[in-house]
Amino acid sequence: MAEPKSPPPRTDSSPWNWLLLVPIVVPLLTPLYNHVEPRLGGFPLFYWLQLAFILLGVGTTTLVYQMTRRKRGDRP
């Protein structure tokens, strides 16, 4: 168990968090993907690009998670 040291005021703010805006905003920009061409493996752009946004979401949240985790030194 962690020894009860008097902790510094904790916070979860971090400049990395701003990155989270990217996967929130991009998938909502319909003009970006509302097209049939170019197709990819038979998929119209509308479908394959939105599926690709999942990777964008996973990538960004994973990056933010990793970067903000290392910064916190108060866990043993």
């Binding site: 968090n17 996967p23 939105q50």
Partner: protein
Amino acid sequence: MGFVAARWRAPQDMAHLDEWGLGGRSFGGWITWFLVGGDLYTAYTFVAVPALMFGAGAAGFFAVPYTVVIYPLFFLVLIRLWSVSHRHGFVTPADFVRTRYDSPTLALLIAVTGIVATMPYIALQLVGIEAVLKTMGVTGDSPLARHAPIIIAFAILAAYTYQSGLRAPALIAFVKDTLIYVVIAVAVIYLPYKLGGWGAIFDAADAKFTASPAPGDGIILNANNQVQYFTLALGSALALFLYPHSITGVLASRNRDVIKRNMSALPAYSFLLGLIALLGFMAIAAGVKPLPGAKPGSVDSNTVVPLLFDMKFPAWFAGIAFAAIGIGALVPAAIMSIAAANLFTRNIYKEYLKRDATPAQEASVAKVTSLVVKIGAVAFIVFLDPQFSIDLQLIGGVIILQTAPSVILGLYKRWLHRGALIAGWAAGMVLAFWMLWQIPNAATKRAHFGGSAFPLSEFGLDSSKTIYVGFVAVLANLAVAVLVTWWLRVMKVAPGVDGTSPDDYFADEGDPRIEKERAGTVDTVSST
């Protein structure tokens, strides 16, 4: 299987709401992943999203951006909620609002909104099972005979949830997901091969929508429903983690890290969801004709996916797929009934009926309530037209969104006044109902509650575009809350005492203050 869960991670004291309703707040990464996933991606989704694609095309694909934006959106919000709940022993979002704003009335509104929004959601899980049963030809003469399989399945569900609490659905979620992954993997490889490739599938869908007279369909969006598309995706995403059952899954996790990790791992389900959605187009390519609906002349498009499996696969594999949909309905139904029971117990029973309830009494009330909730859901489906629960689900999503200012903004700032939040809630509700009332349903020929796409022309705007009702209502809610807050401050109305401290929002597992407080009441399980 569910009964085994009672002994799994055997708790020291099952007669405590923390244990029964939150699995002892001890779940690690994997279990949380399955639990929250099992919660959010339900049988109804597997049946309804492809049905929407089948009927309307691209507009149904909103489910993908919706489940992409949820996680970054809630990445920071949920860890705060977890921390403050962990620190104060909150079991429901209404518990949090109660302490934060010092207002039992506001908490009651949040709790009732949560329960009302959850009930039809449970009933919808049964609609998923019904679509399967209908395809298998299980139809009886009396309503009771027709629903017999559902009633039996629900009785089992009720029994194991009663005994094991949240541990039961958590364990069964493993089985559900394994089945679904297998089924989908096979379907998305095998079906396109049988149907002539993905290109042919999209071409078939395109041909259907070009030929159909409906204005809103197509394999891409048209000029009028783009605003609807992204507001629906954003609004639904905001609503999702306000549903009490999703919060239950989150609060049950062990620490902040588990939640953060899951926020980046859960989108794996979205990929699955995208592929499942495309089953709707495969059904078009395969020439599936949906079974007739409850009224003559209507069709039950929820049956397209079960029919597709029935048509293209050997009986044994279709059987596995149907079983997957069935279990996929029971897991979320169990979690939802637990969440509704937690709300009732904490924010109605304890607040208004029995102030000095012991933890053991709380737990037993929650158990009984979860039974009542499930019986209510079954009654819904047996005695009412399923279309009615779909309408209620639509309303449910819009009204749960009205709790966003109190819960989400409350986690950050306490600037909004409790009275103003109540006023905003009421304004949002009234506007939402008025808007939903205006929308006719083209398919079923009814004048009201026909969908969530509100024509902007109704506001007097010179536009043929549509927008998601919940989105407009929550903006109105916020505007009213801000204005009334300003007014109440001018009038110097007491804002109540905040029961939380800023530091609470960052507390983590093993917080020394919590260990000290809990030592007197419950033996804490010492972590690794």
